[in-house]
Amino acid sequence: MKKENILKDSCRLDALLERFYDAELSRTEELELVRLLSDPALPEKYFVDRDVVTGLAGKACDSEAGCGDAFSAVPEGFEYRLEGAVDKASRKSRFRLYFVRAALAAAVLAAGIIIGVRFSAKDEAAMEDSLAEVSAEEAREAVEKAFNLLAYGIEKSREPIVAAERHFDKSGKAINDAIEKIKDMEK
């Protein structure tokens, strides 16, 4: 800054800085601010602002024509390498999927075999148990039935005996009566 312009530029600089920190500057005004702060004769009191502004706005817009198009500046082969990385990840994913499927299938097969063996072994034991249980149960039932039948038979068989006794009593009485009559007749 030339001495005669320092006061004028300082006023302008102060105004632009205030608007910069209020985020009110246009891109054109930012370029002007960067230009003023880049002056070798810049007073020391603006050094901090120079570092802040050039560190921010000075990098985003590096030409008076406006902010350059940084999107086109990629290294050579960038997109090719990027697509290659995606393809590699895709192959890894497919291999992982095949491996997981094979492992699952093997696990299911092994589980099926183990369960089948255990189940069939369990069946034999269960069957033996079942047979044992059925025999004991049947035996108990059979005994119970037998006792019931015996009781029934005994009960049933008592009736004719009782009837016979009644008849015997009757006939016995009849015979006794006859004998008494005979005795009476002999007297």
Binding site: Y21, A23, E24, T54, K59, A73, E79, V86
Partner: protein, 160 residues
């Protein structure tokens, strides 16, 4: 989603992602690594991509955050290009523009959101308010407020 479909979705944003990473990291190789890293992470999550309403905003945000993470790691590893926060402002008058930029980016990485995102998108990446508004969902007034606070905060740290 198959590989071809994934590439079709993602590749249109690759260059802009690279530009964002480069503007923060200032290193071509690191910037390319960041983009590739984000691509591969998106590949792992490709089944959920359809639920992302604004893919461009999502990707640029991912690249930005990843780049700032690398900047933070550089600072903690004692990279020569980046000064510690406590040293800010001590020799501000003697640093060159390149060092100032590195320091600024280091400070931006430490800002709270949304200041970090807004100042990065506007000042580092050179986006206009309307595009930032579309990507972030914030109105221009809120963007200017966040940007103002971020710039003033950085200045306070530089002053010491």
């Amino acid at each position: 989603m198959d590989t071809a479909g994934f590439k079709q979705c993602m590749m249109p944003y690759a260059r802009q992602m690279y530009a964002v990473a480069l503007s923060i990291l200032k290193d071509s190789s690191d910037a390319e690594d960041v983009v590739q890293d984000v691509f591969l992470r998106m590949w792992e999550k490709r089944s959920g991509m359809s639920s992302v309403t604004n893919l461009k905003a999502y990707l640029l945000s991912a690249v930005r955050n990843r780049s700032f993470d690398i900047m933070e790691k550089r600072r903690s590893d004692g990279d020569k290009g980046v000064m510690e926060l406590s040293d800010e402002g001590k020799d501000a008058g003697q640093t060159e523009s390149k060092d100032a930029v590195s320091r600024i980016i280091g400070l931006i990485a430490a800002l709270p959101e949304p200041q970090r995102t807004v100042i990065s998108m506007h000042d580092i990446e050179g986006m206009e308010y309307d595009e930032i508004s579309r990507l972030t969902g914030m109105n221009e007034g809120a963007l200017r407020t966040a940007l103002s606070r971020a710039r003033r905060r950085i200045r306070e740290i530089f002053k010491g």
